[in-house]
Symmetry: C2
Subunit: 595 residues, 2 copies
């Protein structure tokens, strides 16, 4: 019996047709000797009916099937009786009267129900991922992911981009995150590394005259995992020659608009808002602000520097700052509600959390008494504080103030229902600093990566004030997530050498680690730049899921384990010998080798 | 200056327009103070002219540029003088009179000329791959590869296939080739493996109800490399549920026809020829026969079994066979020419190479005297030997006879010019044996892989004669290359257990290695099967290149080295410590760690 239709595709237009369907038993109900089965395939569900009146032997066979059995059935599509029409099902107007059945495979009772919204422990879902994937939600997400990839490809193909595959077995590059290493069997004592991104290869493709490159590329970082990280992840990797930052950003906006329109039918207004890094940090305390609501941070250092609040005065004197978040409408919160914000703020580095409520036209709260009436007036004006408002103060170095108030802004924004969950608010964050001082290593590190080009007007600052150089770098943010980022790249050897020197890399080390790139810059390298989008995160936002793992067919857990395959796992001693390595045992520990 | 046109796109239609071009200096010629530069970008080449009459300062700047300098130039498109038209260049009717120039970057003299057909040592090309990629041939091949991938995706998307990404960090599966291993930092003493193919994942996707899956997937095999192998390679990986072999093969033929039509405009006749494995081995001595010419092998065991040629008689008696290749028209070869075939045949296992020439109506050659006139007549009739033919005999076990005569057939076919290099001759080879006896291991091994489904009519043979079971497996061959292969898969646990048992795997080992798959088969697994195409090889055949490395942007050498990046390479001791491994040193050897 050859499948003629998909379950979910049947409509009243098929009434009278004889169809053959293949699928899984979702549910079965026996109503007085008549058997109703909801049959499910990738397209959806349809009701099939076994009735002594027309099903013959098929009824007896059907009587033995259980949930998740795989069936092939043939029968006639008929209109349902008016009282049995199911308006919640696309196929709810019809049913199929079955005359033939073949049980293609049986099924044990699954460890959880195959339907959306069931509360199941995630580790059980991951161990039985092949059952979890049957849930409509997972099917929908994987379909959307496939569609999103296709839209990226179609758009970029239309703009003359060539997809080029770059190596997975490549060279360890100790800048950046921890590498996954692969011991070489042929070259004793040597290792490949899995790429953290195809960064160097894509730049070399530009040197190679490819001009417009893209790749939907697997990348690897051996980092300690958080909820929104995976050891392997996918980025849409893009690089162009002869385009400047504005041209590239404009094209990428078109790409995003098409992606959102063609996947979830959302119109994204163009052009995107652009914020400098400095503005973003100042107003939102974050370089990936959620712009679906206001609640901007307010600078008050000047107003409180000489106030009676000693901690404010001393922070400002030491070069720190004092900023305020005006939590509109939270002036009625109880003392306990306000105090509960303290531990939250502390997680982001706050040593305390001063506050003022506006009640009955007055500033109220423990610190009010330390202000002069003029200071109170000035604060009122600067913060726009009105009846019912709550002013939250953070006083510390710039980073802590941004972290604390940025986090409070998000928390309170959510709590107050200021966020429209159906809105997609894109923005570019531009003019990032090129370098960042690392207190531990006592040297500058690259904020993006060492190949980022300084702004033309800042290039002279390498000698005098490298910390103040701004970069031709940009992030694309959406609803509080960074969904992509990139930069124009350095394309001249002397500039790249200056950059390496600023990072504290000796000429010898620079040559050892990046010699191929420095050499390449001497053979006619075009001006180039690019961007990479995080596909997993974009799919997460497109599909309204809350976790990257929901967007990946076979994800790893927070401890980098594949629960389905049981990987990683011990290997044969012989395999290790071929690779010229052995395990380092802790004393007294048994060797962990499968034999 | 914003680029307005690509160099290769300019035609007489642009005459009179002012254009801005970006590109590389291919050549420069100074003719009496007028400077002609061939400017190259990805699209092609155009002649730009600097003339004191209109170029002003631009001429002085242009005078300093050399090969591979990167320029941005602006000027007017004009018709060339009749005598300077270059009919070999698509842009040969026009030239661009330059008024503005910017040197975007300089270039040292490259280590080889950036043009096709230059004799350059391959290792030099790989070390400077970023220059090699500028050659039109490489650009064309990468463009074709990108296009081929897109056609695969568009076709499969149109047929309802979903592209799903499967993990690169997965579990070592000691069946098959050698794995690349990745030590885990988090799980001490444990390892991930890079996938040799997404085989198990794609089957689990079918269990998961994806129904139609594909992926253009990176695969890894740590094998000793030959000219046509790479440690990492790309396959177009396809799996379907509810389709039988005929349906799948028919769809894949459509896919191949579209691929060849849309990339190189070749019409592939459908349907493809189908050969059983037995036929292919019998007629061509190969399971991937080149069908662009005949020269089929001829069975003569019965005719020579009782002849006076002792070695023939004894081979047949021991269960071997004697076959003949009739090298049409080689009857005039000298004794030396014929003898030269001996060492060639020996490479494929031949202990000797008997032959007969047909000259002046007579069989001639050392073995002729051992045949009776009746035997000669029978040989003549069976082999169709005519004046000027050369009969080459191989007598040995089946495998050696196939290898020797299969190789001779290809060699002589080429030598005689029987192969039309512009023809693309596809075929399916079907009905492969399921199992193959491994003399060394004294057990059966899977000819394809352990998940291949036996033919329905052969399934009872597991108990009695497993070696004679034929599989629902198929290879797609093109001009003597296997460009893809696949099978219908086992989808019931008891059948899979029988298969593992036939391979000598204990139930415990089967559970340890493949427990997740055996479990999955108990929860409603649909009948499924699939195929994988070798993308590198298909692109090689489509582009008429002779080496897989020519189809890959950054390939590895025969010793699995990336000459551009210098990978693999030593890593820091600290990295190894984090991974809980250390190097095994040969006595007296220095530790190979970069510090």
């Amino acid at each position: 019996m050859h499948r003629t239709h998909q379950c979910g595709s049947l409509t009243t237009a098929n009434i009278g047709e004889t169809v053959t369907l293949n699928g899984w038993v979702q549910t079965r109900r026996d109503l007085g000797g008549v058997l109703f089965i909801d049959l499910r395939d990738r397209s959806g569900i349809v009701q099939i009916v076994f009735n002594p009146a027309y099903s013959g032997e098929a009824l007896a066979i059907a009587d033995r099937v259980r949930s998740e059995y795989v069936l092939s059935v043939t029968g006639k599509v008929v209109q349902r009786d008016a009282e049995t029409v199911n308006p919640n099902l696309p196929t709810g107007q019809i049913e199929v009267q079955i005359t033939e059945i073949e049980v293609l495979n049986g099924a044990k009772t699954p460890p959880f129900f195959i339907e959306d919204g069931v509360e199941v422990d995630e580790s059980l879902r991951l161990k039985y991922r092949y059952l979890d994937l049957r849930r409509p939600e997972m099917q929908k997400t994987l379909l959307l992911r496939s569609k999103a990839s296709k839209i990226f490809r179609d758009f970029l193909d239309g703009e003359g981009f060539i997809e080029v595959e770059t190596p997975i077995l490549t060279k360890s590059s100790p800048e950046g995150a921890r590498d996954y290493l692969v011991p070489s069997r042929v070259h004793e004592g040597e290792f490949f590394a899995l790429p953290q991104s195809p960064q160097q290869y894509k730049q070399l493709l530009m040197v190679g005259g490819i001009e417009r490159y893209f790749q939907i590329a697997r990348c690897f970082r051996d980092e300690d995992l958080r909820a929104d990280r995976q050891p392997e992840f996918t980025q849409v990797d893009i690089e162009t020659s002869f385009m400047n930052q504005d041209e590239l950003l404009g094209m990428m906006e078109q790409l995003m608009a098409r992606l959102f329109k063609e996947t979830i039918n959302v119109d994204i207004p163009l052009p995107f808002q652009r914020l400098t890094y400095a503005e973003a940090m100042d107003k939102y305390g974050s370089d990936k602000p959620d712009l679906r609501f206001g609640l901007e941070l307010i600078q008050v250092s000047d107003l409180v520097a000489s106030s009676g609040v000693k901690v404010f005065a001393s922070v400002v004197e030491k070069g720190g700052e004092v900023k305020v978040l005006n939590a509109k409408g939270c002036g009625t919160w109880s003392r306990k509600e306000i105090d509960d914000l303290g531990p939250f703020a502390a997680r982001y580095g706050a040593k305390g959390l001063a506050w003022i409520q506006v009640k009955e036209g007055e500033f109220k709260g423990p610190i009010v008494k330390f202000f002069t009436p003029e200071e109170i007036e000035a604060l009122k004006e600067r913060t726009g504080a009105e009846e019912g408002d709550l002013l939250l103060f953070s006083a510390d170095n710039k980073k802590v103030v941004a972290d604390v108030l940025g986090a409070l802004r998000l928390k309170i924004g959510k709590q107050l229902g200021l966020i429209n969950e159906n809105e997609f608010k894109f923005a570019w964050v531009v003019d990032f600093p090129l370098l960042e001082w690392d207190e531990e290593e006592k040297r500058y590190v690259a904020l993006h990566h060492p190949f980022t080009r300084p702004r033309d007007e800042d290039q002279h600052l390498f000698e005098t004030d490298p910390g103040s150089i701004l970069a031709q770098a940009y992030d694309i943010v959406l609803n509080g997530y960074e969904v992509g980022g990139g930069s124009m790249r350095i394309y001249k050897r002397d500039m790249q050498e200056k950059m390496f020197a600023a990072l504290g890399l000796s000429p010898e080390d620079a040559k050892y680690k990046f010699g191929h790139l420095l050499d390449a810059f001497e053979y006619g390298t075009p001006p180039h730049g690019g961007i990479a989008f995080g596909l997993d995160r974009l799919v997460m936002l497109l599909s309204g899921r809350s976790n990257l793992r929901e967007t990946i067919a076979f994800p790893k857990t927070a401890s980098a384990t594949d629960l389905l395959m049981d990987a990683p796992s011990p290997v044969d001693q012989g395999q290790l010998e071929q690779l010229h390595i052995k395990l380092v045992k802790k004393p007294g520990e048994e060797k962990k080798v499968h034999s």
